[in-house]
C-alpha cells in the first residue's frame, strides 16, 4: 500500500542559501496520526505549506498517495488533503453552515448552488464535529473552541483521506484542547483519515498521536553542515518526546516524570519553583 505522505530528500528555504528544511525524509502511512513539534522558526508551517503544494521544494520530492503533490490538479489535490489553519475570522459575517458549505464550492452546479449530496456531506460534517446546534450562528459569535470545530467540519466536508492542522488547540482552554484531540482521534478511527497536526503541546500530543516529528532549526549551509546529523527526528512519541530530545530542540531545560502511559515533560526556567531539581537556581 502506498504511503499517504512521503517526503524524499526534501530541501526548501525561502532564500536559496538559507534552507528551512534540509534533506527531510519522512513517510507517513495511511491512517496515521502524526504530531509535528519544534521551536518557532523550525519550519513546521513551512512543512505544512509544502505538503499543501503552496511551495515547491528546492530539491527532493513530496508525494501524496503515491503521486507528486505538484502533479495534481488544484481540485484533485483538494480531494486528497484538507487544511485547518490557525484561528482566523473572515472580514464578512458568514454563518457556520455557509462556512462549511464552502468546502463544496468546486462541486456546485452551473448556477452556483449545492446539490442534495453536498447538503448531506455538510450535515454529516456538522454532526461529527458537534456543531449542528449552532449551525445558524455567525462565525464571529462563536468561542475559539467552537470556531475551531467549524473549521475542522469544513475540512471534513472536503472528504479527503488526509487532514492537515496548524496548531489546532493554540488558543483553547484545557477542556476544548482535549475536545479537539478527541475529535481528531475519532475521525482517524472512524474514517481512517491520516492526520498531521502541528502542535506546541507535546504532552497532549503524546497522549493521542501514533508518530511524532520533532524539528530543530536547520543548521544552514555552513561548511560541513550537510554532513552533520539530521535536524529532525521522526519516531513514535515515546522516543521523540524525551527530555534530551526536547532540551536539544528547544534549548530549554525540562523536568520529566512518568504519568500514566506516557512521560510528562515540563519546561523549567531559572525562577521556577522546581528549578533546584535541575540545578538551575545556581546559575542566578
Amino acid at each position: 500500500m502506498t504511503a499517504a505522505i512521503e517526503l524524499n530528500d526534501v530541501t526548501f528555504g525561502y532564500r536559496p542559501t538559507e534552507p528551512v528544511l534540509r534533506q527531510v525524509n519522512v513517510t507517513v502511512e495511511s491512517g496515521t496520526f502524526l504530531a509535528v513539534a519544534g521551536p518557532n522558526g523550525a519550519g513546521k508551517s513551512t512543512l505544512l505549506n509544502l505538503l499543501a503544494g503552496l511551495h515547491r521544494p528546492q530539491s527532493g520530492t513530496i508525494s501524496i498517495e503515491g503521486a507528486d503533490v505538484h502533479s495534481y490538479h488544484r481540485q484533485a489535490l483538494a480531494r486528497k488533503l484538507a487544511i485547518v489553519r490557525q484561528e482566523f475570522v473572515p472580514a464578512f459575517g458568514f454563518s457556520v453552515t455557509e462556512t462549511v458549505m464552502m468546502a463544496r464550492t468546486p462541486y456546485f452546479g452551473q448556477l452556483g448552488f449545492e446539490s442534495q449530496n453536498d447538503r448531506r456531506i455538510v450535515a454529516e460534517a456538522l454532526d461529527l464535529t458537534e456543531t449542528t446546534r449552532f449551525a445558524s450562528r455567525l462565525l464571529a459569535e462563536l468561542s475559539g473552541g467552537e470556531r475551531q470545530r467549524v473549521f475542522i467540519a469544513r475540512a471534513l466536508a472536503q472528504e479527503t483521506p488526509i487532514l492537515l492542522l496548524d496548531e489546532p488547540t493554540s488558543f483553547l482552554d484545557l477542556k476544548h484542547q482535549v475536545g479537539i484531540y478527541d475529535l481528531l482521534r475519532s475521525i482517524q478511527r472512524d474514517k481512517g483519515t491520516t492526520i498531521v497536526a502541528i502542535t506546541h503541546d507535546i504532552n497532549l500530543a503524546a497522549q493521542y498521536c501514533d508518530l511524532a516529528l520533532l524539528l530543530r532549526p536547520c543548521p544552514g549551509n555552513a561548511p560541513g553542515a550537510a554532513g552533520k546529523s539530521r535536524h529532525y527526528h521522526i519516531a513514535p512519541p515515546s522516543e521523540v518526546f524525551t527530555p534530551k530530545g526536547i532540551e536539544e530542540a528547544f534549548g530549554v531545560r525540562v523536568f520529566s516524570a512518568p504519568v500514566g502511559a506516557v512521560s510528562v515533560i515540563l519546561p523549567l526556567g531559572q525562577m521556577a519553583r522546581d528549578a533546584d531539581r535541575l540545578g538551575l537556581h545556581k546559575d542566578l
Binding site: 503552496l54 489535490l77 472580514a91 455557509e98 464552502m102 464550492t105 448556477l111 448552488f113 449551525a135 472536503q158
Partner: protein, 343 residues
Amino acid sequence: MHRILSPRILLLRILAAALLLGLVMTACALVGTEHISLKAALAPADGAVAPNPDFEILVHVRIPRIILAAIVGAALAGAGVTFQAVLRNPLADPYILGISSGAGLGAMLAVISGVTWTLWGRSPIAVFAFAGALGTVWLVWMIGRVTGKFHVTGLLLAGVVVNACFSAVIMFLTSIARSQEVHATIFWLMGNMTEEDFFVLWAGAGAVTAGLVALYFISPQLNVISFGQADAQSMGIDVKKTQLVAFALSAFITAVAVSLSGLIGFVGLIVPHAVRLLLGPDHRQLLPLSSLLGAMFLVLADTIARVAIAPAQLPVGVITAMVGGPFFLVLLVRFNRKVYWLK
C-alpha cells in the same frame, strides 16, 4: 440543518428588487421641474400636427437620464461588491485601485488638449476618461503582480500610490490650466448625469449587464476567497484566475460607468454594505441585489439632484454622499443594536 440561500429564494428576491426598481424608475420619470402626467404623455397626438410635449419630455429627457442613472448605479454597486470581496477589505470601493484618478487625468487631458472629435457620439472627455481608467487599473495590476506573494496588499498599495501620483498631476494641470477648462473638469469629476442618446444607453446597459452576469458566475468563488487565498486554494479554487476575472470585469464596468457620468462616489461603497447588513455576505445574493439596489439608489439620488434647486441642477455625486452617508450610518447603528439584542 440550518437553511441557507436557495436558488428559489434568490430568484424571488431578485424579482422583487427588479419590480421595485421598475416602480421607482417609473415614479421618478414623472417627477421633475416640468409637471407631466403619464396619461397626457401616452395620449395620441392631435392629428400629428404638433408633437405631444409631455411625451417629448418623458421619452427624450427623463427616461434616458433615468436609465443612465440605473446603469451607472448598478455598475458601481456591483463593482464595489467585487472589489471588497477580492481585496478582503470592507473599505474598498470601485475607485480604490486608481480608477478615479486615472479617469480624472484622462478627462483633464481631454479638456486641456482641446480635442473636439467624438467617438460614437461620445465626447472626448468620456473617451479619454474610459481609456485613463482602464489604463490605470492595468498599471496597478502589473505593479501588484511584481510584488508577488502578498498580492492583495501589493495591489492596494499600488492603487493608493498611483491614485496619489495621478491626483498630484491633476492638481498640477489644474493650476496651470485656464479657469474655464478647470470648471468643466471639476464639474465632471463631481459626477453628473446628462441626457444621453439611446445608442449610448443601450451600449452602456449591454456592457454593464454582461459584466454583472459574468461576475455572478464567480460569486461562489468570491465567498471562498473572503476566507483568504491560501484557504481558497486548498479548497480547490483557482484563486489567481478568479482574482483576474473579478478585477478585469469590475474595472471594465466601473470604467463604463465613469465614462458615462464622471466620478460618483459612495454608491459603490455603501450599497454593498447596506445589502450585506440586511441579507448577509453571500456573494451569490449580494452581487445581483446590490446591483439592483445601487441602480435604485442612484435613480432616486439623481431625481433629487434634478429637482432640489430647480431649475438649476446639482451634481448627483453631492446627493449620493449627502443622503447616502447618514442613511448608511443609521443602518449601521440599527444593525449593531439588533445584534446586541440577539445576544
